[in-house]
């Protein structure tokens, strides 16, 4: 992965050296240079390889021809001696497209042939001369030209040197015969290939540079746009989104996922802001009350009786306790939501926790004239094992029960049986029961109280949301938020439904395999 530092602006004021370095840090430029180099190396290897092969083939062919010619000459010599040989050499020399022929002796005296000039050192060697040497034919023996008389060494119009390979054999009486084959063609071929190599590399470099100019700069431009958008976001405008070109390429996909992330951050940020506001409001209220009471008490300090003072002080302590309680609940919700207690999750019998809570609140409900019905008919089917935290589930269920108690219609106090018909037919009941599914279970707390309007379900699980606008009932508006957080921590959810009438709150949890 290549990370690009997006500090394009600094390059504008940089020195040429620095600008070069900046350029090198641009991925597209770097990749272009690397690709051109790699391509060049490969084409050189390809051309060199083919050149080597082609040269080898031509070389072998030339040697075969030389060998054939030599066999011909030797046959002529065996049949008619040196005279015949010299005649054959002369005859072959005149043939169109002839090879190189030279019959000479140890002193350099030439007897026959068509070579006008060649490196003198060659005359002392015998056997194959494989490295191409420069030569010039006699005027009359020029390739594919009408024959013209002229002795070796005669001056004439200068002709370009050609190259050839040859073989020298020693004959009787110190005579030697050189037979060569023109090799001018492979040399030319080599030059063509070299030219092709240079031309192709150069054109590739130009095309690549052009492509970089077009594509690379385009990509760079998009990165700069993204960078500019990011800076605006860092600057605090979380509603900004990265630009999407619509090409549906990597850049767009990246921008889309980053935008999704930004949307999440924005919503979290909004939540935090809303919460900070609520915290400010909901903690200021009890703190203000606390302060006012303390101040009033201070003003009355001299006149108040001991009993009055004690009353006031215990009120102040109660107010402080209430504030601490809100703090604790808030802290607990945020820690549960942050998942820092995920480590404490362990197999828990959810139904047993519900039974505990039912038992704990049974007498309280009775005092309040409410009946708690706990259906433990599922107990026989074995425990409902979920991955959770007994303490947190207990707290969550107690919050639900306390809510139900708080908002339930006050029933008749025990011992004072109702005279009202409606009270008899419709007593306030809170039912607690477990529902077992194949993979999930639900811990249900249902009441037949006033309930919550369906459109408020999503809102009431937020912190500090209380539908009771007058806030006449005690509470912090944090109860359902904690239930929701606990349910999520245990991999489940809080589901609110209409109990017709009343509210049916269910903590839905996944069952463990055990």
């Amino acid at each position: 992965m290549v990370t690009e530092p997006i500090d394009v602006d600094t390059s504008k004021s940089a020195s040429p050296m620095g600008r070069m370095r900046m350029l090198w840090r641009v991925t597209s430029f770097r990749l272009t240079v690397i690709f051109i180099s790699v391509f060049f190396i490969f084409s050189v290897m390809l051309v060199a390889g083919s050149l080597f092969t082609v040269t080898g083939v031509l070389h072998r062919e030339a040697r075969n021809i030389i060998n054939d010619e030599l066999a011909l000459m030797q046959r002529a010599e065996r049949r008619g001696g040196l005279q015949a040989l010299a005649r054959t050499v002369e005859a072959r020399s005149r043939a169109p497209g002839a090879s190189l022929y030279l019959l000479f002796d140890g002193t350099g005296q030439v007897f026959a042939g068509n070579v006008r000039r060649l490196p003198g050192a060659l005359l002392n060697r015998t056997g194959w001369i494989n490295e191409p040497f420069e030569y010039r034919l006699l005027e009359g023996f020029a390739r594919r030209r009408p024959r013209q008389e002229g002795p070796p060494g005669a001056t004439s119009a200068p002709r370009p040197d050609r190259v050839a390979i040859a073989k020298v054999v020693t004959l009787d009486r110190g005579l030697r015969l050189l037979i060569g084959r023109d090799f001018g063609q492979p040399e030319r071929f080599r030059r063509i290939i070299l030219f092709a190599l240079i031309a192709s590399t150069a054109s590739l470099a130009i095309i690549a540079f052009g492509a970089w100019l077009f594509l690379g700069r385009k990509a760079l431009g998009r990165i700069e746009k993204v960078s500019a958008a990011s800076e605006r976001i860092v600057g605090g405008d979380l509603s900004q989104r990265l630009p999407i070109s619509g090409a549906d390429d990597e850049f767009d996909r990246l921008a889309q996922s980053l935008n999704a992330m930004l949307a999440r951050i924005e919503s979290l940020d909004g939540g935090i802001k809303a919460m900070a506001d609520s915290v400010a409001h909901d903690l200021k209220t009890p703190l203000t009350r606390l302060r006012n009471r303390a101040e009033r008490e201070l003003a009355n300090a001299d006149s108040a009786s001991t009993a009055d003072r004690q009353n006031a002080l215990s009120e102040i302590v109660a107010e402080a306790d209430h504030t601490i309680r809100i703090f604790n609940a808030l802290l607990m919700i945020s820690r549960v939501e942050a998942g820092s207690q995920a480590a404490t999750l362990e197999p828990v019998d959810a139904c047993a926790v519900l039974a505990d809570i039912a038992e704990l609140y049974d007498v309280v409900a009775e005092e309040a004239g409410v009946r708690i019905e706990f259906a433990d008919d599922l107990a026989e089917a074995g425990p409902l094992m979920v991955r959770g935290n007994r303490e947190l589930l207990g707290q969550a269920l107690s919050n639900l029960v306390e809510n139900a108690l708080k908002y339930a219609r006050p029933g008749p106090p025990p011992g004072d049986r109702p005279q009202d018909e409606q009270m008899v037919t419709n007593p306030t009941v809170i039912s607690l029961f477990c529902e077992r599914g194949s993979r999930h279970c639900s811990l249900v707390v249902a009441d037949n109280g006033p309930g919550i309007p369906a459109h408020e379900y999503a809102r009431v699980v937020q912190r500090f949301v209380r539908l009771d606008q007058s806030r006449s009932k005690p509470g912090s508006g944090l109860g359902l938020a904690l239930v929701n957080a606990v349910a999520k921590l245990c991999g489940g959810s809080l589901e609110l439904h209409d109990n017709e009438p009343g509210l049916r709150a269910a903590i839905r949890l996944p069952l463990t395999n055990s």
Binding site: S314, V317, D321, I324, R325, N328, L331, M332, R335, S340, Q341, A343, T344, D356, E359, L360, Y361, V363, V364, E367, N389, R390, E391, L392, G394, Q395, S398, E402, L405, P474, G475, G479
Partner: protein
Amino acid sequence: MRILLIEDDQDAADYLVKAFKEAGHVCDHAADGAVGDTKARIGGYDVLIVDRMLPKLDGLSIIANLRAAGDHTPAMVLSALGEVDDRVKGLRVGGDDYLPKPYAFSELLARVETLGRRRSPEEAEMRYEVGDLTLDRLSHEVHRDGKKLLLQPREYRLLEYLMKNAGQVVTRTMLLENVWDYHFDPMTNVIDVHVSRLRGKIDRDFDVPLLHTVRGSGYMLKA
């Protein structure tokens, strides 16, 4: 009761030392972890009160060191971190009780007194007696003045805990923790209702009340 308080907040420490003294205890104070560790090793205390976050050496390490050395002096952990996992951590290293800050002094006092008494061999007692009230832990039978009282299982456990700590204040949270085994803080007066039910059974038909409400703190069973 000799108490060692390891707490780096000087104001809180001064207040606690004074309050414990007023409650009739001797309270020694150490202002950082290292001093506290040394004092705790020297020993001679009935209860340690250890703040979790201390300079030089944290509270949990002090307790862990003591336990490793075979010292089982009851230890109360105080912490600003009041969450379930912190409590579990505190108790795992060998702390005997855990109280999140901020706390009421009455709560701390009640708990510390209970901890300090824990060393007495009351675990072996099979029978509790407070005045004319008796509780037999083998047969689970409760009698007062020779009359058998019929209690629900939870009422029995509530009474058992109150009798075990007879003569001492037990707070509502202590009852919820020890009788119901939950550590949360119920908004309503659940515990009070349970206690008043129990009171109805053990006190109503008798002249002398045994179960007393301690204002601002909790309850006490006393002859």
